[in-house]
Symmetry: C2
Subunit: 488 residues, 2 copies
C-alpha cells in the first residue's frame, strides 16, 4: 500500500514497543525472571484472565457478595486456590473461620446462652449456670433448650449466622454508606465475642483458622490480635499471658500435624478509641509481652475505624515510649484506610512511617500522598492491600479503580491480604488474590506478578532473615510443583 512508502512520519514502532516494555517492567512482577515452565503458565493465566475480562459480568467490577458465585465457578480462581501464596500478613483474630462453623459447631456446644439486643443483634455466653442479664439485651436463653423445643432450627441458625457476618444478597441496599456498614461491621465482632473468648473455643477457633488458611495454600500467618482475656465455664478469667500462650500451644500442635505449615506470629492490637494515657498502659504491657514471647509476638498496631478515631499523631507520646525506654516494639500500623483527603486522619500514613512502621495496613490513601509514597518506597515499607475489605467497607466500588492498581503499576512494595475474610463471606486468601490479580493487576500481569506477590509475603514478613530464607525455600518447592502440575 501507499502507506508503507510514507512510513517515516509515523511514530517509531520500536520506540513505542520500548516504552510499553519499560512500563511493563515497572509493574509488580515485571522484573521477575521466569523459567520456561513459568512462561508457559503465564500464557495460560493471561488467556484465562482475558476470557474473564471479556465476559459480560466481570467479577472485580461487581460487589464481592454478588461476584462470589461467579468467582467460585472461575477456573482461574480455582487455579489461584491451588497456588502456594506464601503468608497472609493482615488478618484479624476473630475473622479467620467461616461463621457457619461458629453457629453449627460452637453454638451447639453445651452451656451456650444467647440474648437478643435492643438493636436486633445477639450476644453469647457459655456458663455453667443461668448468667446475669446484661444491659440492652433480653434474658439469657440456653440454646440447647430452645433448639429442643423447635422442629426446624434452620431459621434460628440462619438468623444467628446473619448477625456474625456482613454477607447479604443486596449489599447496596443494606449498606447505603460507610457509617452504616462500619456500625454493622463492629456489631459482628460484638456478636461473636462471647463465643470466641470462651477459653476452649478460643483455642479451637485458632486451630480451625489455621486449618482454613493451610487448606487455601497459605503457609504462614501474621495475626492482628486483641489478645483478650478469655473465660472458663465457671467464670474464671484468663489474662493476656494465657492468651498468647494459648496461641503458641495451638500453633505448636497444628504445625506438628501439618508439617508443611510454616507458622504464625501475632501483632498485638488495641482499639484507637482509647486515650493517650490508656495507650501508655497498653504499650507498657505490649513491651512486656514482646520480651516474654519474642518468638510468637511480632509487634503492635492500633485498630478500628480511622475516619472516626483519633489520628496517630494524637498518640505520639505513648508511641514514643518503647524507643525512649530503649526497647524494641515493632509497629504494624493500619493507616490510610480512608477516602477523605487533607484531614488529620489523612496524615496517618506519614506518621506511621515516622514511627518506623514495619508495614502499612491498607494504605488506601497512599497514592494521594506523593511525598509519603516515596518515603514508604525508600524505607522498603510494604502496603498490605486487602481488596475485598476495602470494597465491602465502601472505600471503593469497582475494584479496577482500587488505588493498588497504581501501586502495582509502579512496582511499589506490597502484599495481598484478606483482613476479615469470615465477616466478608470470603475465606483464606484466594478470593483477595483473585481480585488483585484479575481486577487490579491488569491483563499484562502474569506468573511473574503472582510469584512476586507470594515472595513479598515472606520478604516483608516479621520473620528473621534466617527464617525468611527457610520459608522461601519451602515456598519455592511448593511453587515449582504448582507450576509443573498446572502446565497446559
Amino acid at each position: 500500500s501507499c502507506w508503507a512508502a510514507l512510513g517515516s512520519a509515523m511514530p517509531d514502532p520500536n520506540y513505542r514497543e520500548y516504552l510499553i516494555k519499560t512500563e511493563k517492567s515497572q509493574q509488580t512482577g515485571g522484573r521477575v525472571l521466569l523459567t520456561n515452565a513459568e512462561e508457559q503458565l503465564s500464557e495460560v493465566l493471561q488467556k484465562m484472565k482475558q476470557e474473564e475480562m471479556e465476559s459480560s459480568e466481570f467479577p472485580p467490577a461487581m460487589h464481592f457478595f454478588k461476584a462470589k458465585p461467579l468467582i467460585n465457578h472461575s477456573s482461574l480462581f480455582n487455579l489461584l486456590r491451588k497456588m502456594p501464596k506464601g503468608g497472609a500478613l493482615h488478618v484479624h483474630d476473630f475473622a479467620l473461620v467461616d461463621v457457619e462453623w461458629l453457629v453449627k459447631n460452637v453454638t451447639y456446644r453445651q452451656h451456650c446462652y444467647v440474648c437478643f439486643t435492643d438493636d436486633q443483634s445477639v450476644r453469647f455466653i457459655f456458663s455453667s449456670h443461668q448468667p446475669k442479664p446484661i444491659p440492652h439485651c433480653s434474658e439469657w436463653i440456653l440454646l440447647e433448650t430452645v433448639r429442643a423445643k423447635i422442629d426446624n432450627t434452620t431459621d434460628l441458625d440462619n438468623g444467628l449466622i446473619s448477625n456474625l457476618t456482613l454477607y447479604t444478597d443486596n449489599p447496596e441496599a443494606a449498606y447505603p454508606n460507610q457509617d452504616v456498614v462500619w456500625k454493622r461491621f463492629e456489631e459482628t465482632f460484638l456478636a461473636a465475642w462471647g463465643l470466641v473468648t470462651y477459653a476452649p473455643v478460643f483455642k479451637d477457633y485458632f486451630f480451625e483458622g489455621l486449618k482454613r488458611f493451610n487448606a487455601d495454600n497459605v503457609m504462614y500467618l501474621e495475626l492482628r490480635a486483641l489478645l483478650p482475656q478469655t473465660y472458663e465455664l465457671n467464670g474464671t478469667i484468663n489474662d493476656r499471658f494465657w492468651t498468647l500462650r494459648a496461641y503458641q500451644e495451638v500453633l505448636t500442635q497444628f504445625v506438628a500435624e501439618h508439617s508443611d505449615f510454616f507458622g504464625a506470629r501475632v501483632i498485638f492490637t488495641a482499639n484507637r478509641g482509647i486515650n493517650a494515657s490508656q495507650l501508655k498502659e497498653v504499650i507498657e504491657e505490649a513491651v512486656k509481652l514482646q520480651r516474654e514471647f519474642p518468638e510468637i509476638m511480632a509487634g503492635f498496631d492500633l485498630v478500628g475505624r480511622e475516619d472516626t478515631g483519633r489520628p496517630l499523631w494524637y498518640f505520639k507520646e505513648p508511641l514514643s515510649l518503647p524507643e525512649q525506654l530503649g526497647v524494641s516494639l515493632p509497629y504494624f500500623f493500619h493507616a490510610g484506610e480512608t477516602d477523605t483527603q487533607g484531614t488529620d486522619v489523612d496524615q496517618n500514613i506519614l506518621d506511621a512511617l515516622l514511627f518506623n512502621t514495619s508495614r502499612i495496613g491498607h494504605g488506601f490513601a497512599l497514592v494521594r500522598h506523593p511525598t509519603t509514597k516515596a518515603l514508604s518506597r525508600k524505607m522498603g515499607v510494604a502496603v498490605e492491600v486487602c481488596p475485598i475489605s476495602n470494597q465491602v467497607l465502601k472505600l471503593v466500588s469497582d475494584l479496577r479503580d482500587h488505588p493498588a492498581a497504581v501501586l502495582m503499576s509502579e512496582g511499589h512494595p506490597l502484599v495481598i491480604s484478606s483482613d476479615d475474610p469470615a465477616i466478608f463471606g470470603a475465606s483464606g486468601l484466594s478470593y483477595d488474590f483473585y481480585e488483585a490479580f484479575v481486577g487490579i493487576a491488569g491483563l499484562t500481569s502474569g506468573a511473574g506478578t503472582l510469584k512476586e506477590l507470594a515472595i513479598n509475603s515472606i520478604r516483608y514478613s516479621s520473620l528473621s532473615p534466617q527464617q525468611k530464607e527457610e520459608a522461601l525455600s519451602i515456598w519455592q518447592k511448593k511453587w515449582d510443583k504448582f507450576v509443573v502440575e498446572n502446565l497446559p
Copy 2:
C-alpha cells in the same frame, strides 16, 4: 508532664511539618503565590469545604443525580458559580444546552415532526411536508397537531425530555453497568440529532450554549464538534463548510453582544467506529478545514466509547497523514476513558502522546501508566478531567476515588471540564468544578488550586501565545474582582 522531658525519642515535629509542607506544595495550586486577599478567601473556602465534608451526606461521594439538589443548596457551589473559571476545553457540540430548552423551545417550533422508535426512543425532523418514514420508527407525527389535540402537554414533553438526557431519579437501577449506560448515552444523541442539525436550530443551539457557559462565568470554549451536515426545511443539505461558517458567524454575533466573552474554537471530531480508509478521507477533509478556517478550527479528535472501539494504533496510518504531507493538524485525543488495564485500548494514552496530542481527553487510566504519565508531564500535555461524566458513565462511583486525586496531588498538568453537561443534568462548568474542588482536591486545597485550574484552562488551550496573554489579563481582572467581592 513527664513526656516533655523525654521528647527526644519522638519523631521530630519540624521534620514532620517539613514533609507535610513539601507534599502540599506538590499539589495543583500548591506553588501559587497568593495575595493577602486570596489567602483570606482561601480560609473561607476551606472552612466551607470542611463543613461539607462533615455533613452526613457528602455530595462527591454520591451519584451526581442524587447529589445535585444538595449541591444546588451549597454556598460553596454558589461561590464557584460566580468564580471566573477561564475556559471549558472539553465539551461536545450537542450537549451544551439543557434539554428542557430543546423540548420547550425547539420542538414547539413550526414543522417539527416526531417518531417513536422500536426501542422506546424518539427521532425528530423538521419538514415542510410529511416526511418519508424511517426504519424501526413509527410514522412521523407533527407535534403541533398532537399538542393541539391534548389538554395537558406536560406528560408528552417530560417523555421527550427523558429521551434526551441520562438524568433520572434512580441511576443505579436504571444503569446497572457500563454497557447499558453507554447504549442510553448514544441514544440521547440520536434522539437530539434531527433537532440540532436543523440549520436554524443549529445556530440557535450554539448561541444558547455560549449564553449558558458565559452565564456560568466561563469566558472561552473549545468545542469537540462533529461538524455534521445540516438541513433546511425544504430538504436542502448544507456541508461541513457551512457548519464551520455557522459557528464562526454565531460566535462573532455572541461576542459582539457579550464583550467580556473571549471566544471559542472547534476541535473537529469523528467517531472511532469508522475504519482506517474512512478516517483517511476524514483527515484529508480536516486538513482542508484547518487551512480554510485557521482561526476557529483548533484540530482533530476521535470520539465514541473507547472500550468497544478501535484503538488509536489501529489508525496509525491515517493519523500520520498530516505530518507526511507536511501540514499541521493538532490532535486533542480522547484517551484512557477506561477501567480496563493492559488491553490494546489501554495503550491509547501512550499512542495519543506519540501522535503529539495537545491534550488528553479524560486520561482516566493515566495513573496506572507510570511511564506514560511521566511522558505526558515532560511534554506538558494536560489531562482534561471531567468528573461528572466519568461518574455517570460508571468509570468511578465515589468521586473521592477519582484518579485525578492522584494527578492533583502530584501537580500533574490538568484542566477541569464538563464533557456533556446537558446529558448529565449538569450545566456549564461549575458542577464539575465543585466535584473537583470539594471531592477530588482534598481539604488542604484552597484558592491556589482554583486559581491554577482557571489559569491552566488558558495555558493549555489551543490559543496562540498572544491570545493567551490577552485572555489571561482579562481573566485576572475578573478574578481580582471575584476575590474582593467575596471576602468575609
